[in-house]
């Protein structure tokens, strides 16, 4: 797999906290295993402000999506201070339009929170020199990670090696 392939790794720390544990070690270990410009998607039972500050200091981009039960999905883009654009309050087709219009020139990654799994967007992404990963969270919103591809071969089939794997952390509509 090309190191330009976008990946989202999911880590739910709610069971750790519910058991009285301290998840920081698990988070840092998970982050260490994440490739540069990829995403660690942490699900926490509250908005983890100290963690967000710590990860931002480490040069990561962090974007938080609040879930209906009070939990928070925290997208951490490693080694890339990009902040996920929140498109969850846009009706279709505006999120699709915003993603495809995004200027990725000079960027190593871009992330977007979308209102749902972007069924209509995926085939359009496949026609562009991009690698992408999508993860659906519990309220149906989806995190989209885009990475520009410079390798033509990889760009044509950015997800072939992993196509059978569903990267969703929740139900996909």
């Amino acid at each position: 797999m090309s190191d330009q392939t976008a990946q989202i790794h999911a880590l739910d720390v709610r069971p750790i906290l519910a058991a009285g544990g301290e998840p920081l070690g698990d988070i840092l270990a998970a982050l260490a295993s994440v490739g540069s410009h990829n995403v660690l998607l942490i699900t926490a039972p509250f908005r983890p402000r100290p963690l967000i500050a710590l990860l931002t200091e480490k040069g990561c981009g962090v974007a938080v999506h609040a879930l209906p039960d009070g939990s928070h999905a925290v997208a951490v883009v490693k080694d890339a201070p990009v902040v996920a654009e929140d498109l969850t309050d846009l009706p279709p087709p505006e999120p699709l339009e915003a993603v495809l219009s995004a200027d990725l020139t000079g960027q190593s990654a871009a992330a977007f929170w979308l209102p749902r799994y972007p069924s209509l967007l995926v085939p359009l992404l496949a026609k562009r020199p991009l690698s992408w990963a999508i993860s659906v969270v519990e309220d149906g919103a989806a995190l989209l990670l885009l990475r520009p591809q410079t390798d033509t071969a990889a760009a044509k089939a950015p997800v072939d090696a992993q196509a059978a794997e569903d990267n969703s952390a929740g139900p996909r509509p």
Binding site: P91, P93, P158
Partner: protein, 427 residues
């Protein structure tokens, strides 16, 4: 922790039907509004029965039916993840549906056996070509969500209501109507308005309303229970007809699902729409709200039809159900889905590569707003006309419906590729 790249699953534009298939069926909506309005505006009082029958079937076959067939073709791949096979048959469905619907309406207006036989052939063939592939698609659907079950029951109801209708048309043509005609008409009406139109609109709305209007999700337990209630009701009415139950008994068995379709669902929909996250002015929302507000009056008119012999109530019930509740919602969805489809097919692949027009400009409020006002005026005037029997008010209602259809037709013509210079890509 799971590691992986994105799933490759997604909806390719190739998976959807060719744009012309749903568009052709959708084009019957404005034509039907104009035709129904013309019939209502010009019919003398002495002709009210054939005029009412004709306008009813223009509304059910042209405005509601054709639009819903087109919508089903479009929604199957999106909501069920399973496109209809042999989708090019959809062109034949559209053509045969037009021939059948026009012939049936002509036959109801001026009965002639040949017209009925052409209607039976056209609508029968259209139903066959539609139901076969759609049933296959639904049987292949991986998703078993509420909306997919709702679509399945609605398609079943379409088959039943079509079968009942074609049998009665044959009875008209050969002067051999079923002996228990009132029961047949009751079941035809219940399966058609509640099982087909009600089931599809309510089930699909559980996805459409949150998706297009950014509302909270539709309460899943209510939606799921309602779909099962509707499915069982359709089977019960059909079995009841076969068992020889009376029209009145059959009508009362419709009460639970009617209560959901014309009271509970509209209340939930109105509450969700009132609390939508983004309150940008959207005329299609106002169509939804208007249709939902009319719905309880449909239920009241239905109850009065059962409880009273006054001939105005069944007329009012049909008017409010077809051109009020169902017609307003379908009209509103056309103002939202049409520009979305055209924009997606024409411009989505070009976004980011050239400047493309925003979807909102393709069906602006300056067109949909007046269409809503004209449609609402028609519903209001028609109600007054039925209650007072004043020919001049009937004429006003019909004229309003014609105006509403003309505005919708104009907006649709402006949307079609190549005809609207204002919305071409900006090179």
């Amino acid at each position: 922790m799971k590691l992986g790249a994105a799933t490759a699953a997604g909806l390719s534009p190739d998976q959807g039907p060719p744009l012309l298939v749903p568009i052709f069926l959708f084009c019957m909506a404005p034509v039907s509004l104009i035709a129904a309005g013309g019939v209502i505006a010009t019919s003398p009082t002495s002709q009210w029965l054939p005029a009412a029958m004709t306008a009813t079937h223009i509304g059910t076959l042209g405005l509601l039916g054709a639009t819903m067939l087109g919508a089903l073709y479009q929604m199957l791949p999106v909501l069920a993840g399973s496109p209809a096979p042999a989708i090019r048959l959809g062109h034949g469905v559209g053509g045969l549906w037009v021939v059948g619907a026009v012939s049936l309406c002509a036959a109801l207006w001026r009965p002639e056996p040949l017209r009925f036989f052409v209607a039976i052939a056209g609508l029968g063939a259209a139903l066959g070509l539609f139901l076969g592939p759609v049933a296959i698609a639904l049987s292949r659907a991986k998703a078993r969500a509420v909306e997919v079950r709702g679509m399945t029951f609605a398609v079943l109801a379409l088959g039943i209501v079509g079968g009942l209708g074609l049998t009665m048309a044959y009875g008209w043509a050969t002067s051999a109507l079923p002996a228990n005609r009132a029961a047949w008409v009751t079941v035809h009406l219940c399966v058609g308005l509640l099982g087909w139109v009600g089931m599809l609109l309510t089930a699909i709305s559980t996805q459409i309303i949150p998706m297009f209007y950014l509302t909270a999700p539709f309460p899943p337990r209510i939606a799921s229970a309602a779909v099962w209630l509707g499915g069982v009701s359709v089977l019960l009415w059909t079995a009841g007809l076969a068992w020889g139950l009376s029209a009145t008994t059959l009508a009362w068995t419709a009460a639970p699902f009617a209560l959901y379709v014309w009271l509970i669902h509209p209340i939930v929909a109105l509450k969700l729409l009132a609390k939508r996250r983004r309150k940008r002015k959207d005329v299609s929302v106002q169509f939804w709200q208007a249709g939902s507000l009319v719905a309880p009056f449909v239920g009241i008119a239905a109850a009065l039809t059962l409880l009273s012999d006054d001939p105005r109530w069944p007329l009012l019930f049909g008017w409010l159900a077809i051109f009020g509740w169902g017609g307003l919602i379908v009209h509103g969805m056309l103002t939202r889905i049409l520009p979305f489809l055209v924009w997606f097919h024409r411009y989505a692949p070009l976004v980011g590569e050239m400047k493309v027009p925003p979807m909102r400009r393709m069906f602006p409020p300056s067109r949909s707003g007046p269409a809503l006002i004209a449609h609402l005026s028609a519903v209001g005037l028609g109600t007054v006309a039925i209650l007072t029997g004043q020919p001049v008010v009937f004429a006003g209602a019909g004229l309003s419906l014609v105006i509403s259809g003309l505005i919708l037709a104009y907006a649709m013509v402006r949307l079609l590729p190549g005809l609207d210079a204002d919305v071409g890509p900006c090179h």
